[in-house]
């Protein structure tokens, strides 16, 4: 019954329809703000419910794309509107639809100006994100991939902090510069293979000498998005200046777009080049892990610290992906999901105290545990998750990635695990400075603990972190077939036997 509906298009465009309705709300400012909030929440919740239906009816044993939709779009070029998900993308759809209602809730009180426009921007952003993960045509993918820039640029620039204009421009221009090169690569694909259908392109064999160029063009785009060292510098600025919910989406979903691109395009379509550039990726990832962890240690600003930790965590993802082993790919996918939830949650945690004290300076805090026990508990869970304690989701992803790295290159694994240690250092130190100690500062003495809205935001996040940590197989089960498929195709493409021990 469900299968006959174009469910992916529904999930993609429902938020957009919600945005159109919000656009039409009229009245005095307070009414408009209230109604926009309500409508945005409902639209995003309905979308989330639909995406739960999607995952429940997803067949985790099938290798190909599911829920495929095809419509004629630009017949002159043979470009179709194609949507479909496999085990790699389905969880990202869910991640996007899961985080959006939380963002709406998190902005309930902190956003006071232009509420209507804010909610429209978020719903449009959701449409772009979901559409990007579902797209099975390169041009459609590109449309969504770059369309994300418009709402995000406005979210950072309009509702951001004091240096928001600089941050918004930096974000916009960095990502755009990368993406336009990808457009050239997409067009080259079209000229060489004659189609922009992603499924066909995965089977196509491209001449290796051309592969290198195409790979570099993709790399320009995805490396900026991930972000990989040294093109990560837009991220701390964007994170610090963006409103809380903006940071949540940025860390939770937008960073995954780059890694998703590597998995979906670079590996299957350009296998020779991927292998050729493997050392480059490994080097940059290790540098990112160690260097940004050290930088995170030195931060005075909580949001900046979490932002730099994101760069380090994404380093594990890129290592996992480019080991091209089943563990590596699954580890990377799992790490992305886990990071999507934990870093989003950490930004929300920072947002909680920022809403009360209006400062993100670590030095302004201390001893919060005495006034905010519930908050301290929640923060603890996410801190431990971020440093990869067994039993939390962070552990599984990092462990699988490191395992795969060890099988590929021992030195790589050793260097990367330094990052794990450093991660524990900066996260625990942050926790100590903010939460523990004596409550001395005057303005903190009257601070209130989490209210009901905030509890409602954090509960699902805590549950997920523990669920993913204790019973990861539920999540991995959806990925097995697709990950195996990806790695097998990669090996066939090479005629190589990489050491793979199937789990």
């Amino acid at each position: 019954m469900v299968l006959h509906l174009p469910i992916l298009s529904l999930v993609t465009f429902l938020p957009f329809i919600g945005a159109l309705f919000i656009f039409m709300i009229k009245g005095d400012e307070a009414t408009v703000a209230r109604n926009s909030r309500q409508l945005a929440l409902w639209a995003s919740l309905v979308t989330f419910t639909l995406s739960v239906v999607l995952i429940l009816s997803f067949d985790s044993d099938a290798a190909g794309f599911q829920f495929v939709e095809t419509e004629q779009w630009i017949s002159g070029l043979g470009i179709h509107y194609r949507m479909g998900v496999d085990g790699i993308s389905v969880w990202f759809v869910l991640l996007s639809t899961f985080l959006t209602p939380l963002c709406v809730l998190a902005s309930w009180e902190s956003i006071r100006s232009h509420v209507k426009e804010y909610m429209i921007a978020f719903l449009v952003l959701e449409t772009m994100m979901v559409g990007m993960f579902c797209a099975l045509d390169f041009v459609v993918f590109y449309l969504f991939f770059e369309g994300v820039l418009i709402p995000m640029f406005l979210i950072i620039g309009v509702w951001g902090g004091p240096r928001r204009i600089y941050a918004a421009f930096k974000f916009f221009l960095f990502t755009l510069a990368g993406s336009v090169l990808m457009l050239i690569a997409v067009l080259t694909f079209y000229v060489v293979v004659g189609t922009t259908d992603i499924q066909t392109l995965m089977q196509a064999r491209i001449d290796p000498s051309l592969q290198y160029w195409l790979w570099l063009a993709f790399f320009a785009s995805f490396a900026v998005k991930v972000p990989m060292w040294p093109v990560h510098t837009w991220l701390p600025d964007a994170h610090v200046e963006a409103p809380t919910a903006g940071s949540v989406i940025l860390a939770g979903v937008l960073l995954k777009m780059g890694a998703y691109g590597f998995l979906r395009f670079s590996l299957p379509m350009l296998p020779e080049a991927s292998l050729f550039f493997q050392p480059l990726i490994f080097t940059l990832s290790v540098v990112a892990i160690i260097y940004t962890s050290l930088v995170a240690l030195a931060q005075e600003d909580m949001k900046k610290l979490v932002a730099y930790s994101s760069v380090a965590h994404m380093g594990f993802v890129t290592i996992g992906i480019f080991t091209v082993s089943v563990q590596g790919v699954e580890g990377a996918l799992f790490q992305m999901l886990s990071h999507g939830i934990i870093s989003a949650a950490l930004f929300l945690c920072v947002g909680v105290v920022y809403d009360r004290i209006h400062s993100r300076d670590i030095a302004r805090y201390g001893g919060l545990v005495h006034r905010m026990p519930a908050y301290a508990l929640v923060f603890m869970v996410f801190t431990l998750g971020a440093l990869g304690l067994p039993g939390t989701s962070g552990f599984i992803g990092e462990f699988l990635s490191l395992l795969a790295a060890y099988q590929t290159n021992r030195l790589l694994a050793v260097l990367a695990s330094i990052g794990v240690v450093l991660g524990a250092v900066y996260m625990l130190w942050l926790y100590r400075r903010v939460m523990l100690g004596v409550l001395e500062k005057e303005e903190l003495k009257s601070i209130l603990d989490l209210n009901r809205r905030e509890v409602a935001i954090f509960t699902p996040l805590v549950v997920l972190v523990l669920w993913m940590g204790i019973y990861p197989e539920y999540f991995l089960g959806f990925m097995h077939v697709s990950a195996n498929n990806l790695v097998e195709n990669f090996e066939i493409a090479h005629g190589l036997q990489l050491a793979v021990a199937a789990p």
Binding site: I74, E117, G147, F153, F169, F172, L173, L181, L183, L187
Partner: protein
Amino acid sequence: MTELPDFYPAMPEVVLAFSGLLLLLYGAVCRNALPRFVGYATVLVLLAVQVLEMTTAPGDAVTFSGLFISDRYAVFMKSLVLLGSALAVILSFDYHEHEKQERVEYPIFILFATLGMMMMISANSLLSLYLGLELQNLCLYVLAAIRRDTLKSTEAGLKYFILGALSSGLLLYGMSLIYGFAGSTEFPVLAEILTAADTQTPMGVVVGLVFVMAGLAFKISAVPFHMWTPDVYEGAPTPVTAFFAMAPKIAAIALFMRVLLDPLGGLVEEWRQVVVAVSLASMILGSFAALAQTNIKRLMAYSSIGHVGYALVGLATGTPAGVQGVLIYMTVYLFMVVGTFAVILCMRQHDRMVENIKDLAGLSKTHPMIALAMAVFMFSMAGIPPLAGFFGKLYVFLAAIEAGLYTLAILGILTSVVGAFYYMRIVKFMYFDESHEPLDRWIGRDIGLIMLVAGVFTMFFFVYPEPILAAASVAASSLFTG
């Protein structure tokens, strides 16, 4: 006794010419002729001719002893030009009423300029090309200087006239060289002579080709012949600038393409390097020079130089796909530009026009709908998907890659990132900055309607782009078979 030529293929032009004469007569004879009436009549005539053009065009017809051709390509381009002219006339109503500058001559000049453009687009010989071009130019010179009581406008008109005359001189010189060395002015004959594989192309033709291209590059304001553009755009009254940015530009591009691909199509290897260089220079200068502009009309001038650069990327390929890309690009460009100028015409403080970009500050709070429309146009001009501007870029760059022009494509697309910066700067002023001096809360109904139509077109083009893409494809291929 000579037989009369077949007027049928030129029916739209004939109707346009007679209507123009009638309106002119009315304006001259009636002592208290109503400028508003003439304006509305002009819009009606332009739209009626457009309908005529699209319904009666015979496909491929040559008349007036081979001087005039009406093919699918001409129909497509003329439709754009007619639409652009009609929109420009509508845009001018409110401005003229406000500035107490209502004149009967204004719409009539636009009408005759449009007639000239249509002749240019349908030219099938170097002579008819030049006749059409000069008819258009004379009207444009006067239009630029139509506010003869202000220094800026007269200066703009004079500059335009001197540089325009110079470029016409270059063009004529090039045409005479081509005629002298090839022996004909007619496009089909020239094409036959110049594509003949066994003969070496005479040097004189190549020199003539370069002169013709230089002359035409003036008209489309491509670098390095762009100098007049910012001054004229800034100096001319805003509705005139809007007109300049739309119809004449599209007509000149149409002419440029026809001349290069039809009679000179055999010399593609010779002219391609020139087009590539001009295109690159236009894209680079258009994006970098615009960064420092504070006057929005000057900024639009540089932006239009950049857009011409992108359009020329399509032409540089010399393939039907490239021409299709240019046609799509110009269609989308027309809507973006008319919308942007509609917004610029709303920029008034204390009942006076203002032109500084900073005057847009805080527009999202004082005029949310205008700000939204302007943001859509800016994002679209920057080529951000899913807005219409992206599709223009997609098609021209696709054609460039198909033709193997990788360097041009990569450099071109990188300049679009620089270009994005200054478009985003306008969005920044509107959305991120607080207003200190809000714009007047006045907006003409015509202007609002144009803004709405252009905005909806730009925003939702991606939903159903098929008709325009298909029409452009048909039009482009007719240029190659004919």
